[in-house]
């Protein structure tokens, strides 16, 4: 596509939200815009916000689907509190999204969708456009008719034709922000053929041309490349990074992977992704339920594979009994919980961080399991490798807590150099002379991994309390006490391998903001902004939630005030108070939505005694 003749204005950053009906293809539009933006070399962050799993009636408020992309020429960490631009495909999309827009922001609407019926269905008493003209920079485009016009000579049905209009809109946005369309065109070529391909390519161009010619847009914008670390990048969501991290763990530990999983939002995509990697020797098994998924993964671990299962909250708690068995038999297996808003079925497509205590404490009796949480989409990749390293080195199940926000959001990701990824060899026991099922490595306290097929190492594992060293069933009080202690000491020793926690900001001071998991971007951004505005606040982000890094107590003790910010009612907050007796405060948000930077800053201001910004 040709370069624009209109003036081009350079801006630092912009956040755009695409919003429309579930049937309008907003997730796809957003994703394609993001890819193009990534290729243009900006730093970026995205936030897809799905409606409930099931299709809501067309045009209803419940059916609105949104995708926000934030891109900049500088380092950014969140999809932005308030978008600058809203593309609203219908009245319902306008209604649910307008309040989030920054005051005076740009609103691009498909005027064809503002029929009386649609307006009423969105719950408006009257046409909202006149008011929007006053409050925002409203750009009114008859997208549906323009799209139909562009395709009228193709033999497509009315439905198929109308389905292209999101690419018309995408074409306009490509023009408006001077994004290259090639990656989208390439993708279309791989996905469609015939008239449908032609139609999509055509409206993408038509949208672009419309942008160039219409008087609605006097200027277009460009966001210069970000000055980011050199290297090869790709755009990645948390779920993809997590799946790839599992692939990588198999490669780096040179062990075959066995995934047992049962579909559940928002974890299913990990299963889908891994099912495509049979050529990596990865076996995926869609089990009959989450219990079978966990048991099959533990069975595979017993058989010498890297067993893993991926799920979300309601499925996670179904696995606890099986996890208890993995604790007792000390088998390496990794369980990923992509947390979603609850309790119970809750709001499956919304994010939350409220399974932490269940992960650490949710089994019958004291049954310690290490727990890790990635902090960004790309970090999901590295966390999975580490999770398997811990599992195998300490012969223990490991829980990884991702969340719905990480799962679906994307960020540009510096593709790691495979040669620089950690490698770890796995030694199965082989010597019948010295083998004892519950003998222990003196350093890690791990018991040996002796897999079927090894002559002379035949042994039996059981969930009944086992005798130290021999593994025979034992009901002796002293043995039980010893085994309970060994199991917890083993997990505690993992802390010896952990890097000390690093503080963002100063090593001591007035206020420390503590977070974990997928809130890293928002918390760090808020703290950095506050520091820039002169406030004495620092932050840490805890990746290892059980055991905690050894220096955590000291770090917490170096600040006068501690604020634990999390998307739950204060779960890490409780753990830190219990462990370190630190009088921390809690910033708890439980709305199914990620933190806004402003929410965190407001609390920082309050704790530091009045607003500095």
């Amino acid at each position: 596509m040709s370069q624009t003749k209109k003036p081009v204005e350079e801006i630092d950053r912009v956040a755009i939200r695409f919003a429309g009906d579930s049937g309008d293809g907003m997730q796809l539009t957003g994703t394609k815009f993001t890819e193009s933006t990534a290729l243009a070399g900006n730093d970026l962050a995205t936030f897809p916000d799905f409606p409930a799993e099931i299709r809501a009636p067309a045009g209803s408020l419940a059916g609105v689907s949104g995708f926000q992309v934030h891109f900049a020429s500088e380092d950014i960490r969140t999809p932005a509190d308030h978008p600058d631009v809203l593309v609203a495909m219908n009245p319902a999309a306008l209604r649910t999204n307008l309040p989030d827009l920054r005051p005076g922001g740009m609103v691009i609407v498909n005027t064809d969708a503002f029929t009386t019926k649609n307006i009423a269905q969105a719950g408006y008493e009257e046409d909202p456009l006149p008011a929007a003209r006053d409050s925002h920079r409203l750009v009114e485009i008859p997208l549906t008719s323009l799209n139909r016009e562009a395709l009228k000579d193709l033999k497509l049905g009315a439905r198929e034709t109308d389905r292209c209009k999101n690419f018309f809109a995408l074409g306009i946005m490509f023009w408006l922000y001077n994004r290259p369309a090639e990656s989208t065109e390439r993708w279309l070529g791989g996905k469609f053929k015939g008239d449908v391909l032609e139609a999509n390519l055509r409206v993408l161009k038509a949208g672009h041309a419309y942008g160039e010619t219409t008087e609605l847009f006097p200027v277009s914008f460009v966001v210069p490349r970000a000055k980011i670390q050199p290297g090869t990048y790709r755009n990645i969501t948390g779920n993809t990074a997590l799946a790839w991290g599992i692939v990588a763990a198999g490669q780096q530990l040179e062990q075959p992977i066995f995934l047992g999983a049962y579909p559940i939002t928002p974890a299913s995509d990990i299963l889908h992704e891994l099912a495509r990697y049979r050529h990596f020797g990865i076996k995926t098994f869609q089990a009959e339920d989450e219990i079978a998924a966990a048991c099959s993964a533990i069975g595979a671990s017993f058989a010498g594979h890297l067993g893993i299962c991926t799920t979300s909250g309601p499925g996670f708690i179904l696995k606890q009994e099986a996890l208890g068995l993995a604790v007792m038999t000390e088998l390496p297996v990794v369980v990923v919980d992509v947390q979603r808003a609850g309790p119970s079925t809750g709001m499956p497509t919304k994010t939350e961080q409220a399974d932490l205590l269940a992960a650490v404490y949710g089994r019958n009796s004291d049954s310690p399991i290490p727990v890790l949480a990635p902090s960004t989409p790309g970090d999901c990749f590295h966390t999975m490798i580490e999770a398997f390293q811990i599992a195998v080195r300490y012969m223990t199940p490991v829980v990884v807590l991702s969340d719905g926000y990480l799962a679906n959001s994307s960020e540009p990701w510096l593709i790691p150099d495979v040669g620089a990824l950690p490698r770890q060899t796995v030694d199965y026991a082989t010597d019948p002379e010295t083998f004892q099922p519950y003998s222990r490595d003196p350093e890690t306290l791990a018991r040996p991994w002796a897999v079927p097929g090894t002559p002379g190492l035949e042994h039996r594992l059981t969930g009944i309390e086992s005798e130290d060293v021999t593994g025979n069933v034992s009901y002796i009080a002293e043995n039980h006490e010893k085994m309970v202690a060994l199991r917890s000491e083993k997990i505690a020793r993992i802390a010896n391998d952990l890097p000390p926690i690093e503080t963002n900001g100063s090593a001591s001071g007035e206020l420390l903001v503590v977070g974990w998991g997928g809130t890293c971007g928002a918390l760090t951004a808020a703290v950095n902004e506050a520091r820039e505005s002169g406030q004495d606040v620092s932050s840490i982000h805890i990746r290892h939630l059980n055991p905690f890094p050894s220096n955590l107590g000291d770090v917490l003790g170096s600040f006068k005030q501690v604020l634990v910010a999390e998307l739950n009612q204060g779960q890490l907050w409780r753990m830190l108070r219990a462990e370190y007796l630190v009088p921390a405060e809690s910033l708890a948000k439980v709305e199914g939505q990620p933190f806004k930077i402003s929410e965190v800053r407001a609390r920082i201001d309050q704790m530091l005694g009045g607003g500095a910004h």
Partner: protein
């Protein structure tokens, strides 16, 4: 099916060093002994054998076998076995379960392993009671049975393990008796040789909580009258001289035909046993036979071949490796749209 052992093993090679802990007279002893006896004949090296169980008296079984063993949690043994066998198709995997473990809490996993046709052997010890928890009724207990949890008698209609298995699409189903060693051993060999899920319901006596539940077919003297021994290609006939009878199946419904001592059963309409009917409905008709109206069929109800789960999975792995080459992590990470920021 796994590789053959190099040196011939003996039954005692399969005896672990653990004290066997069942009540005196428990039918489990006999089953254990027969499994240990038959393992050398089956001939898989013992390091390639894995016994997996849930929880129950019966589920203690793996602890007594000197093979690899995994005594897991209640009801989930088929799911553990799925992970083991799918990961390592070359292992010989045996599941031991009870009527409570396999059909109460574990019914779903049993159903799914059967339909997937994973190549494992499943020994379901049916004593029609919960032994380990000291005597509650189980899903196979008869209506009216008085137990600790049913002081006025059970009101649950029981499930028949063979019918259940056939309803789930089982490719191999057999029934054996704890104390009939030679027959049990034959069933074990057949199960082991079957390339798919092989379920054997073993009628097992629990002298403590449900004594003599199976006495009619356990005792040799009454067995001729009460058991219908299935043999492939033979007519469905039982009963000694003067009491000879056969089973005819009309429009799918079985009935009894009286036979003279020398009469040709087939000419009287008695069905001929055929394990390998593609349709499961013949075997299901047999499974519907039960005391007191009918004899109890013993032997192989059904044995047909279908691709096994772990085989098809391995085939996909192999095919994918041929097609896409071995996985290349660098290539994966760099696939699709990427961009490079120069230094």
């Amino acid at each position: 099916m796994a590789a053959q052992a190099a040196t011939p093993l003996k039954a005692k090679d399969f005896v672990s060093d653990q004290d066997v802990r069942w009540c005196p007279g428990c039918g489990d002893y006999s089953i254990l002994k027969n499994v240990q006896r038959v393992m050398p004949d089956i001939g898989v090296p013992k390091e390639d054998v894995v016994f997996v169980s849930g929880i129950g008296c019966s589920s203690r079984f793996p602890l007594y076998m000197d093979t690899y063993g995994f005594h897991t949690i209640h009801g989930r043994a088929p799911a553990f076995a799925t992970g083991i066998k799918a990961a390592r198709p070359e292992l010989s995997v045996w599941v031991v379960t009870g009527d409570g473990d396999g059909l109460s809490i574990g019914g779903n996993h049993l159903m799914h392993v059967l339909r997937r046709n994973l190549d494992v052997q499943i020994l379901l010890f049916n004593n029609r009671v919960y032994g380990l928890t000291k005597g509650q009724y189980s899903p196979t207990s008869r209506v009216g049975m008085n137990t600790k949890s049913t002081p006025q008698g059970s009101i649950d209609h029981p499930i028949d393990p063979v019918s259940f298995a056939l309803g789930a699409g089982a490719t191999f189903v057999a029934r054996a008796i704890d104390v009939d060693g030679p027959h049990l051993q034959e069933m074990l060999k057949r199960a082991s040789a079957h390339p798919g899920t092989a379920l054997i319901e073993i009628l097992q006596n629990c002298p403590v909580y449900n004594d003599d539940e199976w006495v009619e077919v356990q005792e040799r003297k009454s067995r001729a009258k009460t058991a219908l021994v299935l043999e492939d290609g033979e007519p469905l006939v039982w009963g000694g001289p003067g009491e000879r009878r056969g089973i005819a199946i009309t429009d799918g419904v079985p009935s009894i035909i009286a036979l003279g001592d020398d009469e040709d059963p087939t000419s009287k309409g008695v069905a001929v046993h055929d394990e390998s009917h593609q349709s499961p409905s013949y075997a299901f008709a047999l499974a519907s036979l039960a005391r007191p109206d009918f004899p109890v069929p013993i032997g192989v109800f059904r044995a047909v071949e279908k691709p096994s789960y772990e085989r098809m999975l391995q085939d996909q792995v192999d095919a994918a490796s041929v097609k896409a080459g071995p996985g290349d992590l660098h290539a994966l990470l760099n696939s699709g749209d990427t961009w490079t920021v120069e230094a």
